[in-house]
Structures are given as structure tokens and as C-alpha cells.
Subunit: 384 residues, 2 copies
């Protein structure tokens, strides 16, 4: 299977090794771009410079905002938006992991709609003006935000981490070049790859799954089961990196068409209270207990997922949980402990309350109705 394709969903997606050079000819939505990035690896590895010079060749001016944090806060979104207005940028290029691309999406709204972006995200205010166009260049295989209309912003004052978005937030162009992902360290390759895995799985068990999102889910799950352990063990394996980049984008399309479930809401609560916790790591820590509960309640769906995870003749939904545990072992993430991220056992109830309140929409996507006790139980059984 060739891991190289273009796709239009409605984002124009250039995919594959070397595709960053598409910036030389691709139709771009403006004349002055703000490049939104984290300022560490994307700068050190020269990716930002490459983008700047590729755009310069086309007489497109650039301003670089390189202060994006792992869990982007509304304060930084507002800061970036002010710079966009001051500099007169007419589009954004988000390059980096999910936080950089999500920040670009959030800034694309904040730049054209006055006030604190949090007012829009929290529902206090309504957008009046069109967003600026966003170009997405992911350098990790996990978020899938390059192929969906969602972004996540954190409010550190209120410990809220909210996923928000809508059709206006699909990037106009996304370039997925696995060459930019070769140097992601093993632990992050695992966290990000598992994030994509949970996107695909949650989209598959969500109420709103469709024949198309289900296809994307099963293909992404299959690719991740097959290639993530290799990508973690040998980051220089180009096939594994390209397969994971494909899986991540497919899982993003699942996000676009289906939904995350309460698993994501439960993780958002963890990393909202503990911003040092990586999203993917948070998901891994709660996922076995979470899916044990769900597998009992929708056996057919878990059997289908088990089939693409090494149990082709599976008739037992618990084979999925076995395959998941196996994947956690093979990706070297078995030893993650909530306690090591500063999460105290006596916090879990507050976290359950936060998850249910802040992530209500994701709980509504579940095919079964979780009680606070269910949520707390998953946290407690996952705690170490």
C-alpha cells in the first residue's frame, strides 16, 4: 500500500515524503503569514526556516510566533491574535504538533473577532467575523487536527480544557510530510501514536459513527497496531513513520466525521489540572479500564476492532482490551503513573466532576450513559 495520497475533505491535503516542497507551488490563501509554532524542535530542526524561505521565494512575508505551549492557553491565543492584527497578516501557518496547529486555528478566529477568545469558546460571546485561513503542517503523528475542524484550548485560571471548532476551522491546506516526523523521540512517538489510536477507537464506538468514519477508524487502528511499535523502537524506519502519519490523518478524519467520547473528556480533566501531563500519556493511563467497561456494553464493535488488531477470527470483545494492553507494553508506556504527574488519589473525585461538566458533549457521544461513579471508578482503578 502506497502511503502517499492527496485528499480534499474540504481541506486540501498533500500527503507523503517530501511534500513540504508543495509550498513552492500550492495555492496559498494570502500574502503575509503568521507562522505559529512551539519554538523548540521545529526551529532547531530548521523546519520553520524552510517554511519561511519557501514562502519568501513566492514573495509571501512571514512573522513567526514561536511561543506555543503543549496545552495552549487562551492568554497566548489572545497574544498571537494581537500580533496578527498589528502585523496585518492575512493567513496562518501552524507548524508543529497539535498544540501549534490548534493555536493557529484558535488565533484564526481571535484575530478577526475582538475580545478574549475564551469568551467565544466558553459561549459567552458569538463570532461576528470570518476566520483567517489556516495552513497546517504537522510534525508529529497523533493529533489529526490537520484533517479536522476542531481545536483544544486551556484556561489555566479555571482549569478548563475545552475542545471547540466548526466547519470554518478546517485548514484550507494541510501538508503531511513524514520526513518532518523522523526525529520525534520514542516516548512522544508512543504518546502521539496512541492519541491517534484513541481518536480512531472513540470515533468507532461513538453514537455518531458512520459507514465512512468506521472505515477510517478500522484502517487507522490496523495501521497503528501494525506500525506504532516499530516507529517507537526505530524512529528512522521510514515506512513505519509514513504509516503512522497516514493513520494519524485518517484518525483526524474520524474526528471530522464522528466524535471523541468520554475517554477524551476524562483525559482533558487530567491535563487541565496538570498541564505537564501529555495528552496521549493521560489517555494511555485510563484506557484499559475505560475500554474494559465499554467492551462489555458493545461487544460487536469491540470484536470488529479486535479483528484488525491481530485477532482476525475474534469472537470475544475482550480480545480488543488484550490487544490494547499488548500495544501499551510494546510501546513502552506500561509504567506511566498518574502519581508521577502530580495527580493525587484524593483529587480523582474533583477530576470526575470536571470531566463530566467540561466534557459533557463527549459524554453525550457515548452509546452508554456513564454515571459519576463509573467515571470515578475508571480513574480509581487506573490510579497508581
Amino acid at each position: 500500500m502506497a502511503f502517499k495520497f492527496n485528499y480534499y475533505i474540504p481541506t486540501r491535503l498533500f500527503f507523503g515524503k517530501g511534500s513540504l516542497n508543495r509550498l513552492q507551488k500550492a495555492k496559498l490563501p494570502g500574502k503575509k503569514a503568521m507562522i505559529v509554532t512551539g519554538g523548540t524542535s521545529t526551529t532547531k530542526l530548521g523546519y520553520v526556516d524552510r517554511v519561511v524561505s519557501l514562502l519568501k521565494e513566492r514573495d509571501i512575508e512571514t512573522v513567526v510566533y514561536n511561543k506555543v505551549q503543549p496545552n495552549p492557553s487562551h492568554v497566548q491565543i489572545n497574544e498571537g491574535a494581537a500580533i496578527i492584527r498589528a502585523e496585518g497578516c492575512d493567513f496562518l501557518v501552524g507548524i508543529g504538533g497539535g498544540s501549534s496547529i490548534d493555536s493557529a486555528k484558535a488565533m484564526s478566529m481571535a484575530a478577526t473577532n475582538e475580545g478574549d477568545v475564551w469568551d467565544y469558546i466558553s459561549g459567552k460571546a458569538r463570532m461576528k467575523n470570518p476566520t483567517l485561513p489556516v495552513v497546517a503542517i504537522p510534525t508529529t503523528a497523533g493529533t489529526g487536527t490537520e484533517a479536522d475542524q476542531w481545536f483544544v484550548v486551556t484556561n489555566e485560571e479555571t482549569n478548563e480544557k475545552i475542545g471547540w471548532g466548526g466547519d470554518k476551522f478546517y485548514p484550507v491546506l494541510s501538508i503531511v510530510d513524514p520526513d518532518l516526523m523522523m526525529s520525534v523521540p520514542p516516548a512522544y512517538t508512543a504518546y502521539q501514536g496512541m492519541d491517534a489510536f484513541y481518536h480512531a477507537v472513540e470515533g468507532y464506538i461513538a453514537k455518531v459513527a458512520s459507514p465512512v468514519s468506521e472505515m477510517f477508524s478500522l484502517k487507522a487502528i490496523e495501521l497503528i497496531g501494525q506500525y506504532l511499535p516499530t516507529a517507537v523502537a526505530d524512529g528512522s524506519n521510514e515506512e513505519a513513520r509514513a504509516a503512522m502519519a497516514t493513520a494519524s490523518t485518517l484518525a483526524g478524519m474520524v474526528e471530522a466525521l464522528s466524535s471523541t467520547t468520554s475517554e477524551h473528556a476524562m483525559e482533558h480533566a487530567l491535563s487541565a489540572f496538570h498541564p505537564n501531563l501529555t495528552h496521549g500519556a493521560g489517555l494511555i493511563m485510563i484506557s484499559e479500564e475505560y475500554h474494559k467497561l465499554f467492551a462489555q456494553n458493545m461487544p460487536e464493535r469491540y470484536i470488529e476492532m479486535a479483528k484488525v488488531l491481530g485477532y482476525p477470527d475474534s469472537k470475544d470483545p475482550m480480545n480488543f482490551v488484550k490487544a490494547l494492553s499488548d500495544l501499551i507494553d510494546k510501546t513502552g508506556t506500561r509504567d506511566l503513573k498518574m502519581s508521577e504527574f502530580g495527580i493525587a488519589e484524593n483529587e480523582l473525585e474533583a477530576l470526575a466532576d470536571n470531566a463530566l461538566a467540561t466534557g459533557m458533549a463527549m459524554f453525550k457521544a457515548d452509546r452508554i450513559e456513564l454515571t459519576k461513579e463509573d467515571v470515578l471508578g475508571i480513574y480509581q482503578r487506573s490510579y497508581k
Copy 2:
């Protein structure tokens, strides 16, 4: 599996039973629509009136053009375009089979670009002005044009039938409501369903197939194998109709992302010279000989397709040809004869020349290079 989903590729797709009523609230691209249709069943069954009144409720004026023929000719496209200009319509609604929606797509260009539309399609002239937006409402399960950027126009003077298009020709909105397909007679249900089948198959064996188009292809092939015989035998079977509508749209997405192959070029030659020949029927008559040849040359791909057509453990590419023959029998299309459509055996060489000349792009999509002898041989062995 729920056969009800929304999709954005970049067409906004409303899919499923009853979805025609989405016209009450869906974002529409203008204030005065020309409705493009064939004027027989879509009118008799009241679909055109329903669309007109649904639009009227929203103060959207309509003009009905109901003279679309099975193989739309450039003359009619020009005629429709003149009416659009005279009436000042700002968008089009194509409702009916592929010919109605394709005509709307062609008129969307002809209305804003002066002269004979054939000059643009044949490459004599270049489009200067933007196309008008098109809304597509398919009433058959076959063409898939509601989900792709292509259309086919015939020039009866020169016996050319050319597939043309580009990103500007994706419908802005497509509504796929299987309720509108319930009364398609058995023979046409078979021809149209098999057309979708060949779209999926050709897209799968084409050079430019991608991991995503392959997913769509295999799912469409599987659904058609499973449901087309039922849809033909019992048109009132809602599940079979919805499954076929899904398969047809998925096959359209394959068209959008991959390509047809020389099989379509060979059929276009037949129906260009014999406009009374239904496209799907033409494909059926040549497909067994065509795929026998290709199956030998790319066994892996044919084995994968055989697996979703009732040979799950297949190791023999010829199982696909068996499954195809089986499908031809089960859909009651075994007795189609070129001779009965007025095709004379001594024409076949001219048809081969026409296919190779007019359909060059489709031959280029093949993974093997067919000679004129190959093409002629397929026609001759298919002739009865």
C-alpha cells in the same frame, strides 16, 4: 451499519432516508435556481415539484429545465446556459440521474463562460470566469457524480463522449435520499448499480489509487456484491436501496480521489456511437473480458477485491471474475448483446480507435499498457 451519514469532501453531503427535507434549512448558494432534470420520472414522481416548493418556502425562485437526455449533448448544455443567463439564475440544482447532475455541472461553466461549451471541453478554449454553484440531488444509485468533480458530455456530430471537470465542479451540496430511488425499475437498478461497481473496481486497479480511495473502493464493492441483487429483485427493499445509495456515493468518492480506467473509455466509445446504449449496460457487456485480462496482470489487487465479493480466503485473482459473472447473472443482465444496441461487428475497430483517441487519459490511468489489439480483442470476445 447505519447507512446515514454527512460528509464534506469538499461537497457538503446530506445522506439518508428523508434527507431531501434538508432543503428546508441547508445553506444554499443563491436566490434563484435553475433546476436541471430529465423531465420524465423526476417530474412524474413529483420530485421536481417538491424541490420547487421547498425552495419557494425559502423565497428562492426557480426555473425548470427538463430536457436533459441520457447522454447529455453539448447543444443542450449551451441551450440551458443561455436560459440561465436570460433568467439571471445564480445557482443550479441538478436532480435525477447522472445525466441531469452532469448537465448542471456543465451548465455551471457554460453559463458564465461565453461560446460553445464544447470548445472548453475539447481544449479549444480556456475558462475565464468562475462557475456557478451546483446542488446535486441524485435519484439513482450509480453515477456518484454527487460526490465528485467530473461530468460527461457528448458531441453527437463528432461521436465524442468526453469526461471533463476539476475542483470547481464539486457540488457545493449533495443530498442523497434513497427514498427518491425506490421506484427505479429493475433493469436500470442493475445498470446503475453496476456502473458504481465499475467505478469502485477501476479506481482500485488504477495507477493513482491511494490508501483512502482503496478503502472506499473495497467498501463499495462489498456493498454492491451484497445488496445489488436484492435491490434489483425487490426495489421496495429499503435497506438494499440505502446500501446501494451508499455504495454509489462511495464509488463517487473513488472517482474523486482515484480514476476510471480504459474500461470506461471503451464504454464511452460504444455509447458515443450508439447514444441509445445505457452506460452501465455498455460496461457490463465488456467487463468480463476486460477484467480477465487485467486480473492476470495484477493478481494481488484482484485477490483483495475477490475477498470482499464472497471469496474471503481467495488466493486466485480469477475468483473476482467468477464473482463478477455471478453478479451479472444475479442482476439479470447476462443477456445484454451489443448487436441489439445496433453495434455491428465490423464497427469494433473504429470503436477501438475512438476509445484510444478520446479516452487517452483513462488508458494512462491503467497499470498496464493496452495496445489497440488488446482493446479490439476485448470488444471482439465480448461481442454477441
